[in-house]
Symmetry: C2
Amino acid sequence: MTPVNLKSLSEQLNLSIATVSRALRDSHEVSEATKVRVRALASALHYEPNAYASSLRRNISKTIGVVIPKVANHFFALAINGIEEAARQSGYHVLIYLTHDDYEREMSIVQHLKGGRVDGLLMSVASGTQDFAHLRSLKDANIPIVFFDRVCAEIETAKVTTNDYESGYQATEHLIQAGCRTIAHLLISNNLSIGQFRHQGYLDALTANDQAPDPDLVMSGVMDNEQNVALIRELLLRRPDIDGIFASVERLAISAYRVCHELQRRIPEDVKIIGFSNLEAAALLDPPLSTITQPAYDIGREAAKILLRAVEKKKAVLSTQSVVLESTLFARQSTGS
Amino acid sequence: MTPVNLKSLSEQLNLSIATVSRALRDSHEVSEATKVRVRALASALHYEPNAYASSLRRNISKTIGVVIPKVANHFFALAINGIEEAARQSGYHVLIYLTHDDYEREMSIVQHLKGGRVDGLLMSVASGTQDFAHLRSLKDANIPIVFFDRVCAEIETAKVTTNDYESGYQATEHLIQAGCRTIAHLLISNNLSIGQFRHQGYLDALTANDQAPDPDLVMSGVMDNEQNVALIRELLLRRPDIDGIFASVERLAISAYRVCHELQRRIPEDVKIIGFSNLEAAALLDPPLSTITQPAYDIGREAAKILLRAVEKKKAVLSTQSVVLESTLFARQSTGS
DNA sequence: TTTATTTACGCAAACGTTTTCGGTAGATAG
DNA sequence: CTATCTACCGAAAACGTTTGCGTAAATAAA
């Protein structure tokens, strides 16, 4: 069985390889008649151009990489959805890599990607990442990068985020309005920019409402869920006066629910809870969870579109192209409404 | 800035391209001394081999494709996690494609992939797919494929699934044990093999317990969630005698919850519900949802491992390599326990 | 008529890697 | 002193595409 490539096509058509290639790319240097002949045979034999040969020659892979901490998280799942959609529309392929919030893995992935396997990169940095040299070096390799959600402030490029500060502020104020006097903040990891923004919103909302921020009420989560549950349990036992919880990330809100159920703390009577979450079932929880919901799909899609624009034009991505998409606060029963 | 490739390396080292290539691949035809020299310079200059050149020459892409209906679904998210893990361990990359349960899209994706972009394919077929010619043609293109979860019985290859029939049987019997006399089955789509298996389990459990199956109690879901809600509402209103619901897929279980809340049907007093689900928060729902939980991560990982074994050995994947991983039934309050 | 210009196509060189087929120098064996 | 072997290395041909350049014929302009 002879392979079906430009060579075999050209032989059957009595044309040169060059002409067949041009015909398939609809070049104006080929007569309409030949184009018809070529296309007919190509589709009859189900010809598919070899992506790697093409990529090698054109130095373009029509592929973008997505590097995220994990996918088993509704936010990232939705974001991928948006990314894939945008990529598909522009004829791009999507390579996916999970860091599991591990710095070493993130570095090794990025290093590999510099080999030209991707034309551009979308990224949500790992919580463990402190050093950004590996990201900076992407610039040298001429691979544009766009951050989404968990951005890296130190790198000069476009970032797609939600209004983290305002959301943190709103969430906290929502708890205060609901009557909370001692509000704990469960945040992802203290070296993540979005965590810091949300935390600053929390702090500012407290002081704006004459409540003194108390570092003892701030807990930063870890990777392991069971460990988080233990930490939250300890926090609630140590500070029985806590009557409000603001969780910066879905996982911690869920864990807080578990601990409250376990400790027989009634929600919202004893403790009110609000958390960042993209959980569809949030309204079906016991009680329905008040959420700040990020436009995850749009964040992914927007980030991909910005990246693809840069890739297509072979221009660098600029910080000025950054976009902030607003989250929505859904007040439900867990905060008393 | 000169590019860093084999040519530039070889020039700086006063070696031939061939030797540099061999040194980096740790060939025995190169002296240890030269290897050290080569590796030193390569890592100093952060040399990354061009993946496309290598793929073109070796006719191997070190990439697998994953084609799934959607990612915003806990099952698939977890499966991807397992897939990525297995791929990473073997040095493979993962391309991801979403069909959104659309046959046309699935076909076009598969067609593109025959260009040699991937060494193998993992797939969960779209619910709309009836014709399998596009999948069969992968055999001709010599691209091995392994199905997981939503398999295609007509294609001769390995499949990784859960024990769908038994799970459907168990779930139904669980409802019967809980006292249900009129059990509805909400299934994904009637032309999906897993739906059929689960449905057969449902039917057999009914007859084994002297309950006559009633086609009027069987509803097959559609793509749109709101539409599903409407369908379920209509079903519950038309058949007020329904006292048990078995949902073959997470989305439908959630929708059933919404409808029950809306119609003031008490769970589990009026209606008992059990559903396939990988939702972490299932235990936190109101009331906690009884679930049949598939080992999603393991299903993805196992499927990937089988595929990669075949790819590495350049052998076809056999049906005999199929694996069935058991789901677990978690009895919670929604079925009265 | 001659001279430009256009149209349609082919030749051959890239792209960066891997691999086959040698080739040379030195060591060992006969 | 030749023959065989081993250990290293290089030249060059692939892999399938794209593309700059050349060119013949056909047409238009002079």
